[in-house]
Structures are given as C-alpha cells and as structure tokens.
C-alpha cells in the first residue's frame, strides 16, 4: 500500500514537471511579442526593450522558466504584463468561480447518470430501458455550448424565468447566484450525464452477468438487493475512471460555457489572456488546469484502493 502510494506520488511529481516544461515551451513559440502587444504597435523599440527587461523577457528561456516555477511554488506568480495587477488574487477568484461550475456540473451528472445507467442496465431488454438508452444517445450528440444556447433561448429569452448570463457571488445575493448558476451547470451536467450513463449501464450489465451475483441470488437475495449489496461496488471501478476523465472534460468544457454565459471564471481568463498575449497569466492558468487534471488522476488511483481491496496488496 505504502509502496504504491509513494510510486503514485512520484508519477504525479514527474508529470507536473513534464507538463510545466511543455506549457512553457508552447508559450515560448507562440507568435507575437508580449512586450510589443502590451505597449501597442506605436511604441518605440526602446520602450519595448525597456519593458522586455522589466518583465525579464530579455533573459534566457531557461532562466525565465525557473523564475516562473519559483513564482508558482512560492504562491507569488507576479504581476500581469497587460493589466499590471497581481495575478495571484485574480487566479484564486477565477478558480473559485470555475470550481462552482465544474462541481455543480459534476454533481448533476452523477445524480442523473448513476440511477439512469443502472436502470438502463437492469431493464436493458425492456422498452423503458431502450427509451432511456436512446435519450442518452441524443445527449452524447449535443455539445455543451449548444445545450447552453438552447437553455438560454428557452428559459431566459423565451420564458424569462432565468437571467441569460452573468455571475454573482453567493455571499452577495444567494438567490441570484443560484438563478445564474442553474443553466451553465445544467449545460455542463446534462451532456456529461449522457456520456456517464452509458458507462454506468455497461459496467452494471457486466456485473449482472457475473457468477457471484447469480450465487447471491441463488442464496435468496432479491435481484435489486443483490445488485446494491454486491454489484455496485464492482461496477464502481470503471465508472470512477470515467468520472476522472470527465472531470478534465468538464474543466475544458467550462472554457466555452463561461464564454456563452459571460462568467468570469478561469476559462474566460485563459481566452482573454491568450488574445492579449498576457503569457504569464496563460502559463499560470494552463498549469493550474494541468495540475487539477493530474491531481484528480492521482486521487482516482487512491479511490481505487478504497473501493477494491484486491489492489491494496503488493506493488502490482
């Protein structure tokens, strides 16, 4: 168990280093000089050179890389090239907004997918199971942004029940916060639920065919109870894997959803910073997303150990 944990932490750290090098390298080859963009086209070459020096862009790429990593590790990523404001508080603020979106989206996805997927598996030969299956196919085919636009058209512009876009912090106005959260979270959640449902269905179907479940039923357990007691835990391993993958999709999906719903989250910050060549902010945001994905994968590995006792022993 301990060996496995150390192994996993080692992999996590190595992945972080590799991804940081990749992120930095991609930013370095992007066309457009950040100092020139910050000062505008009419700035003199001497003014641009002065700003390059101020930002440290005149140093070697290796020196710039280590200076960036130092800033990240010490939680002081410095100031933006463009707005001149400290990046740290801005990142924290935007990250919280995106976490609300992704978190709520994930909860909605699970709440819909787990019962529906199980139901589809149990009734896979009955009309109700087939209907649910068809519905989930439609869900898979719809991208999140289209779901968002459809929701806005119907519930905001058409019926006037919800605001079309915007964001209000929960402490400022909890009711408005919820109203503004509903549609973006649903857009993310419904689409993810459709994908997840299919995996849950397949995992539960596999479990239903297992010998141990037949044995449990032979011992007198009712089918539902047998499934709940012995089946779901076994079905959970592949489902948790998919959940982790989907969390990454949700994070990326939120970039588009934030634009559609005009939400000042991490995704909007990323898009704006790319357009303005505020490279230091872009690097930080991409790195945060990469870190989140790697961390989730690490946690999933840990969850496997919790769910499946067979994985705890040895180093296999």
């Amino acid at each position: 168990m301990i060996v496995r944990l150390v192994q996993r932490i080692g992999i996590l750290l190595a992945s972080l280093v590799v991804s940081s090098v990749l992120v930095f390298a991609f930013m370095a080859v992007l066309p457009g000089d950040p100092a020139r963009v910050a000062l505008g086209t009419s700035a003199s070459d001497s003014a641009v050179a002065q700003l390059r020096e101020q930002f440290g862009l005149d140093r070697s790429l290796v020196a710039q890389y280590f200076s960036w990593i130092h800033g990240l590790v010490t939680f002081d990523p410095g100031n933006s090239y463009i707005s001149h404001a400290p990046i740290g508080p801005q990142l924290a603020d935007r990250l919280q907004v995106t976490l609300w979106l992704v978190g709520t989206g994930m909860v909605i996805a699970c709440l819909l997918a787990l019962p529906m997927g199980t139901l589809m598996a149990v009734r896979h030969r009955k009309p109700s199971g087939l209907l649910l299956s068809a519905l989930s196919q439609v869900g898979v085919a719809i991208p999140a942004f289209l779901a968002g636009i459809l929701l806005i058209t119907v519930f905001a512009v058409g019926l006037g029940w919800l605001p079309a876009n915007g964001w209000t912090p929960p402490v400022q106005d909890p009711v408005l916060f919820l109203k503004q959260l509903v549609m973006p979270a649903l857009s993310l959640g419904i689409v993810q639920a459709a994908v997840l449902t299919r995996y849950v269905r397949s995992a539960v179907l596999d479990v239903l065919r297992e010998d141990y479940l037949r044995t449990a039923r032979a011992k007198g357990l009712r089918p539902t109870r047998a499934l709940l007691r012995h089946g779901l835990r076994n079905a959970a391993v592949p489902v948790v894997t998919v959940l982790a993958l989907q969390l990454a999709t949700l994070l990326v999906g939120s970039v588009v959803i934030e634009r559609v719903f005009v939400i000042p989250g991490l995704g909007s910050l990323l898009l704006d910073s790319v357009a303005n060549r505020d490279l230091i902010v872009v690097q930080d945001v991409v790195m945060i997303i990469a870190m989140a994905v790697l961390l989730v994968n690490f946690l999933v590995d840990m969850v496997y150990l919790l769910i499946d006792p067979r994985l705890r022993g040895g180093t296999s």
Binding site: P31, R36, A38, L39, S83, G166, D173, A275
Partner: protein, 505 residues
C-alpha cells in the same frame, strides 16, 4: 459488512472536505457583479475591455472610452456635433500670431485624491506627454514650445508654430489632466477631476464607476454606472432582453436589430462614428505597390452590396478617410464607382493577375463578415486572393500593423481625425509615401480655418485618387437602450463614452 464501514468513514471525510471547500468558495468571484441595475444605477454593455487604466502607455480605444470625460477631464471637450466646448477651462483666447493659447481655468475643481486642480497641474500634464508617454499620440504635443502657469487659474501655452490641430487634440486623451500627486499607479488607480471614480474592476467582466462626492460641476444622474464587457454579440443582446444590462453601447450584430426595433420596451439609436472600415493596401511592397492594381481593387468593390451583406446595410458610404462630422467632409464615393469591367481591364494592364493577394484580416466581427465578400468581388475582377484570419489583437498587430507582412487587410480606424497618422507617416503599415500629401496636411494645420478646410479636402481627394486604400464604409453608432434612458450620444465623435449626461425619464 467490513467493506461497507471503510467507505462510510471515507465518505464522512469527503463530506467534511466538501463542506469546507463550499464555505471557502462562498465568496467565489467576490469582485464579480451581476443582476440588473437599480433605479440609481445603470449597466452598459460594451465589447472591448481596457487592458489596464493607463492610456499614457497602453494603446487602444477601450481605456479612453471608459475613463475620458468620466474619470479624467480635459481643458476643452468635444460636444455631440464635434464642436470644441469648455470643460476645465472656462474660456480661452488665441494670440494674433496664432501661437499662444491663454486658458482661464475653473477655480473649484479637485482631483479624486483630494488635491486641488490648478494651472500647475495642467502644465505638468501637458509637459508629461512629451516625457513619459510612450504612445504614437504623444507626437501631437511636439508642437508645444513652452507651458507657463501664470496664476492658479491661468495657463499660457506657446506653440512652435500655429497649429489648428493642437486645440482639437486637447479634447482627446493627450489633453487629460493628471494630478501631480496621482500618477504613480495609473494602470490600476486612475486619479482625475471627473464626476466618477473607478469603484471596482472585475477583470474580464466589468468596471464599476461611482459618482464622486464633491465634484466641482453638476453631478451626474446615476450614482453608479457599470460597464459590462461581452465578447459575444448575442450574449450582449440576450443580456438586454433579460434585463441584466440597460444599454447596448456598441451593437456588434446589426442583423439582429429587428429583435429590438419592434419592441416598445427599447429604443434604437443610430448615428455616425469616426470608425472608417478600411481595406488597407500595402503601398510599399508586393502586388499592391502597383498603382494600377490598387485602382483595379477600388473599381472592383461594390460597396453598397458589401455593406448590405456584411453589416446589414447599416453605416455610411464615404469613399475617404473623413467622416461626416469633420468640417472638411466630402462624399468621394464617385471617385472610383463600382465598375467590374474597368477593374478587369486594369488587372490585366497591371500584370498582377497571376499573383496571389494575401488578404490578412483580424478576427473582428466586421472584418470577418466583410473578408469573404471582398475576396469574392476581387476574384470576379480577375485577382487571385488568399484569405487569412489573424488572431486579434496579438497576431494581427505583429504581422500586419508592425511588420507590414500583408498585401491587403480590413480594419476599422476608429481614432478621430486619423488621416495623418495612417497616411501621413510613410512608416505606417500602409506605407503610403506622397510628399505632396504630407505638405497639404502641414499647410492645413498652420493656415486659417478656411485654408484648413480647403487643404484637408484636397489631401483627402489626393489619397483617394492615389488609391492608397479602399474605404469600405463608415461604421454606424448603433445603440439599443431601455426606453426610459435619456442623454445617450447619437454620434460617437470623441474618444469617450460620455456618461455625464445620462439620465432616466
């Protein structure tokens, strides 16, 4: 049962962690704003967000749009008809040799940091343009010889030579008055004498301006005005339809105006701007260096059809770099009327028919909408055109504007009276180099008002005749607002979105 207990403990821990996260993130986006405005406040939807608040070092129209006349004031300002009016100067006079301006300043103006506004601040602000600004606009103060604060309320500015343009430029950002004690953090904490102060900036979302106590002149109607920035035109339209904003300050999707025109809840305002949508031609190198090829381009474009297709027929065809609100405006659309046969003939004569033109456009709504139409019309005249979209601002600015690595592009030049900066400088990205044109501009600046108008008209005709570029159309000032909002500017003639006259009926 053994297996069940462990997850239960785990679930408890996960639940506790989630609860902590939830509490911590209750302030998520703590600087964000949302919801509809109250009676005493106003939400305006705009497109381009300022990169920071320092327009002395950062280019672009977004910063003066938000801050000029609202947070920063100038000695003189432009009114809706484009006339120069008093602001921090109550009156001014010009000496007989037309070189010395004497300004009489208001007595009771203060900066938002508490300091009193005096002639010393005005002297400091004018001189600072030469020493500290980095923008191209700083050259507009090169003509200033000396600045003298005669008394706290009297300022004398002596120019090296007479200049008609200088007083006009004093209505723009270079004329903004700064506090001698308030320029250390211009990028984040602007200090001006205006009726509003920046209360909050939620980057990527909105800027909130709050009415300032102790403002020296008439206080504006709205206690707070929030400028909300939308990247997507549809999202901005939806925000107005659902009451999140009260005004669309810049309509970027004229084809969707019908949603508001037949609705009694809204009013639509249509006026003119300084935004000439220019089909820029590279006069310095490549196929567009050839005058006959440039002339062919001008004949090949059917401007009316183009404007109808890509901007829903809104806007004005002007055929030159001068908008109708400038005194020397003249309609030059008949200089190169649409004539495809003539264009075809010129293409053949020019010998450029076989070469591929690189039409490199920025990713901006009007440019992407017009790009395909321009390509198609030029191909019908016999040109070969390759259309590239360059990400705006970064990639377009570097490739086209800085390095002039293009043959043709499409861009809206929105700065006021910008014929000089775009065509009067042979190093500008258009690379137009005509000494006669530059001489006309210089003469216009120094002559009497009548001479100025005559010379500027001649200059506009010359640059058009040389086919230095093609002027596709003038962007309209399209605004949509709640019916009860009053005082919205019909024309957008200055660099500022002047909020001081807005009210509610």
């Amino acid at each position: 049962m053994r297996y069940l207990r462990r997850p239960t403990r785990g679930t408890g821990a996960v639940a506790a962690t989630l609860a902590c996260l939830l509490l911590a993130s209750c302030s998520a986006g703590s600087t964000a704003t949302g919801g509809s405005a109250g009676k005493n406040s106003l939400n305006i939807g705009l497109t381009a967000e300022p990169a920071n608040f320092d327009f002395t070092k950062t280019e672009g129209a977004a910063i003066p749009q938000a801050l000029l006349y609202n947070v920063y004031e100038t000695l003189v300002k432009l009114d809706q008809s484009g006339k120069i009016r008093p602001q921090l100067a109550t009156s001014w006079s010009l000496s007989k040799d037309r070189r010395t301006y004497t300004f009489h300043l208001v007595k009771n103006a203060t900066f938002s940091d508490g300091a009193r506004f005096t002639a010393e601040d005005a002297k400091f602000s004018i001189e600072r343009v030469k020493t500290d600004w980095t923008l191209v606009q700083k050259t507009q103060m090169d003509v200033v010889d000396t600045v003298r604060a005669v008394s706290p309320t009297e300022l004398k500015v002596t120019l090296k030579r007479p200049s008609n343009d200088w007083l006009y430029r004093m209505t723009t950002r270079v004329g903004a008055m700064f506090s001698r004690t308030g320029v250390s953090k211009l990028a984040t904490e602007p200090v001006g004498t205006g009726p509003y102060v920046v209360k909050n900036w939620n980057r990527g979302d909105s800027i909130t301006l709050a009415r300032r106590h102790g403002y020296w002149a008439r206080t504006p109607h709205f206690a707070s005005v929030t400028l909300k920035y939308f990247k997507d035109p549809t999202a901005m339209n939806n925000a107005l339809l659902t009451g999140t904003i009260n005004v669309i300050g810049q309509m970027q999707s004229p084809e969707s105006l019908y949603r508001f025109q037949n609705n009694s809840k809204y009013k639509v305002i249509e006026g003119t701007t300084n935004g000439e949508v220019v089909l820029s031609l590279n006069n310095g190198s490549g196929p567009m260096k050839n005058p006959k090829a440039r002339q062919a381009v001008r004949y090949a474009i059917d401007h009316k059809a183009l404007m109808d297709t890509c901007w829903a027929g809104r806007g004005k065809l002007i055929g030159s770099m001068v908008p109708p609100t400038d005194p020397w405006y003249q309609n030059l659309t008949d200089q190169y009327p649409y004539d495809r046969d003539r264009a075809k003939k010129l293409v053949k004569e020019s010998g450029e028919a076989g070469r591929t033109l690189r039409l490199r456009i920025p990713t901006l709504p009007y440019a992407t909408a017009c790009g395909t139409v321009v390509k198609s019309q030029l191909e019908q005249a016999g040109f070969k055109v390759k259309l590239d979209q360059l990400e705006f601002p970064a990639a377009w600015l570097t490739t086209v504007f800085k390095n002039a690595d293009y043959d043709m592009s499409i861009i809206g030049h929105v700065e006021p009276r910008d014929m000089q900066t775009v065509f009067g400088n042979k190093k500008s990205y258009i690379r137009y180099d005509n000494p006669e044109f530059r001489a006309l501009l210089a003469k216009a600046d120094q002559g009497t008002r009548e001479q100025q108008i005559t010379d500027m008209r001649a200059a506009a005709r010359l640059v058009s005749k040389d086919a230095a570029a093609d002027w596709l159309f003038l962007l309209p000032n399209l605004m949509v607002a709640d019916k009860d909002i009053t005082g919205l500017p019909v024309n957008s003639v200055s660099e500022s979105l002047d909020l001081t006259g807005l009210g509610r009926s």
